[in-house]
């Protein structure tokens, strides 16, 4: 007691002049230096490696078939993601439907396409002709092999598989919206379709975008699987070249560079998409809506404008 009071008195006495010395994390600095040295060593062993032909990497980086391969990779990724997103929306809504048949179909779809390997699905679509030599409606049929080009087979295989994953992501997003939102909209007399499109989905998008970004980046790399059905995407193009000149590591590095570049661009895109669907992210978010309300105010000739995004 006495000691405490004495201590406190001393502390009070010197109080205002005390300087605070933050703890120095010496261990942290040591670990950082060691880690940095390891990274530099690794980098040096690669860059200075006489077995890597850097000139070849520079040459093939912009070689025509590589560029065409990169383009096909982007096309496959974007198209498969778009189709997958639409399928995901449809199957997510079916899965939440009270109609037992629709519900069952959606469950079966998700079960099947998530449960079988992507590779098997790709090979299956490419070889569809063994099952249906000709496809079409009624008397109008075409040879399956003329339709089922490697690109089409790849697109179908990737989209259907993606749709199954997207269905679960979309469903989680919709379930993540507070049920009070749907109730309020219902009480206002909105129809179920209006509620889904105007209230639920816009809010679900905020939950759907981050995992969808993940899926898109995964898809970018999964497209390399289509080399088994000889669609000439990025990795296949690289393989075709190194099969001839044996610059295996060099061409893998070229392909990896391109995958990294595309992934980086996609990540930046995702960042802006997230901002767009997050109304409170400031001036850049929901620019459309902010601009619109600003325009309506100007058109009414209101002198005092109310800041559309609130806080300065």
């Amino acid at each position: 007691m006495d000691v405490d009071t004495a201590e406190r008195a001393k502390a009070d006495a010197v109080g205002p002049q005390v300087h605070i010395i933050n703890l120095r994390h010496r261990g942290r600095s040591v670990v950082a230096i060691v880690a940095l040295l390891l990274v530099v060593a690794l980098g040096y062993s690669l860059l200075a490696n006489p077995n890597i032909n850097w000139a070849a990497i520079g040459y093939y980086f912009t070689e025509e078939s590589i560029l065409r391969g990169a383009l096909m990779t982007i096309q496959l990724t974007v198209l498969a993601m778009l189709v997958g997103l639409v399928l995901g929306l449809i199957f997510a809504i079916m899965r939440m439907s009270e109609n037992p048949v629709l519900n069952g179909i959606a469950n079966a779809y998700i079960w099947f396409f998530r449960g079988t390997p992507q590779l098997v699905q790709l090979i299956f679509w490419f070889n569809l002709a063994f099952l249906f030599p000709r496809i079409g409606i009624g008397s109008y049929t075409v040879d399956t092999n003329t339709v089922m080009t490697p690109f089409v087979a790849a697109l179908i295989g990737l989209s259907l598989n993606e749709g199954a994953y997207m269905a679960e992501i979309v469903r989680a997003g919709i379930l993540g919206v507070d049920p009070g939102q749907r109730q309020a909209a219902t009480a206002m007399g909105m129809t179920p379709t209006q509620i889904m499109l105007r209230i639920t989905l816009p809010q679900a998008m905020r939950l759907i975008i981050p995992p969808t970004g993940n899926q898109a980046i995964a898809m970018l790399k999964v497209t390399s699987l289509v080399s088994v059905i000889s669609a000439r995407e990025l990795l296949t193009s690289a393989q075709i070249i190194y099969a001839k000149n044996f610059l295996i590591i060099e061409l893998l590095i070229v392909a990896s560079f391109w995958y990294l570049i595309i992934t980086t661009v996609a990540t930046v895109g995702q960042h802006y998409l997230e901002k767009w669907f997050n109304p409170e992210s400031g001036r850049n978010g929901r620019g459309r809506s902010a601009k619109r309300s600003r325009l309506t105010q100007i058109s009414r000739g209101l002198k005092k404008s109310t800041a559309p995004t609130g806080k300065a």
Binding site: D178, A184, M188, G189, M190, P202, Q203
Partner: protein
């Protein structure tokens, strides 16, 4: 066709959640232009009954009409046919509702929140709906918050915006489900002021509340509910002064 004398008429309304019977036969008549406060302990079925009125909850027995219309059903001969979701939506369109948790749409500005239903439910032009939304927001004291998003407002401001949103469709009936229960004590007054103002303007209001002072001052009729039944109905003076029922008296002495 007989002209309805009651804005809301309930006869033997029953509602079950599985085996649990939450409404055990509610009889109630609410005249147009009146303010009715539903009081009672939690779990007494007040909120459930309120949600049955605009058919957010489907009733399991009895009949419930608003402005002479069966909610959720169309009567043909001696059969009641359930309405489609679109028809139900149409029935709800001129009944306003205010929720305990406000339930403003977070992805829309306050102005868009208020102007949305008039535009997409009542097909009023954007310009006209926004002009009306501004008027309503001014009326609840939020003229300077039109461009804000709900999360940027205080609880009291959010609830006032929610009231403006419910008023935007020119409702013939307003339902309030514990509108001040989620608010900090110092913000309750501003919301009650708006409701008082609305009541004096002649709006038909049904309010589930725990604000006894408000109920006593504003209500024309107090309905005391307990255990899924209406225990007692009467003017505030009678209920607060000399309730007939022992249970009502016990509840009121506990909360006052």
């Amino acid at each position: 066709m007989n002209v309805p004398t009651w804005m809301v008429e309930a006869q033997g309304v029953r509602k079950n959640y599985g085996d649990l019977e939450v409404l055990k036969g509610i009889d109630l008549q609410i005249p147009p232009g009146s303010v009715t406060c539903l009081l009672g302990p939690s779990g007494s079925g007040k909120s459930t009954f309120l949600r049955c009125i605009n058919h957010l909850e489907k009733i399991d027995g009895g009949r419930l009409t608003v402005d002479g219309q069966w909610m959720g059903y169309r009567l043909l001969g001696n059969k009641a046919y359930e309405l489609t979701p679109r028809q139900q939506a149409h029935q709800r369109a001129d009944i306003g509702m205010v929720f305990q948790q406000f339930n403003l749409f977070p992805h829309l500005t306050v102005l868009e929140n208020v102007a949305l239903a008039p535009r997409i439910v009542h097909k009023i032009a954007r310009e006209a709906s926004e002009i009306r939304a501004r008027e309503l927001l001014a009326r609840v004291g939020l003229h300077d918050k039109t461009g804000s998003y709900p999360r940027q407002l205080s609880g009291g401001q959010q609830q006032r915006a929610a009231i403006a949103r419910a008023l935007a469709c020119k409702p013939k009936l307003m339902l309030f489900d514990e509108p001040t229960s989620a608010l900090d004590p110092e913000l309750v007054g501003e919301v009650l002021d708006v409701m008082r103002d609305l009541a004096s303007g002649g709006m038909t209001m049904i309010v589930v509340t725990h604000e006894m002072t408000f109920a006593r001052e504003v209500a024309d009729t107090i309905v005391f509910m307990e255990d899924g039944r209406v225990v007692e109905t009467g003017p505030p003076d009678q209920i607060f002064g000399s309730a007939h029922s022992e249970r009502t008296r016990r509840f009121l002495t506990r909360v006052l």
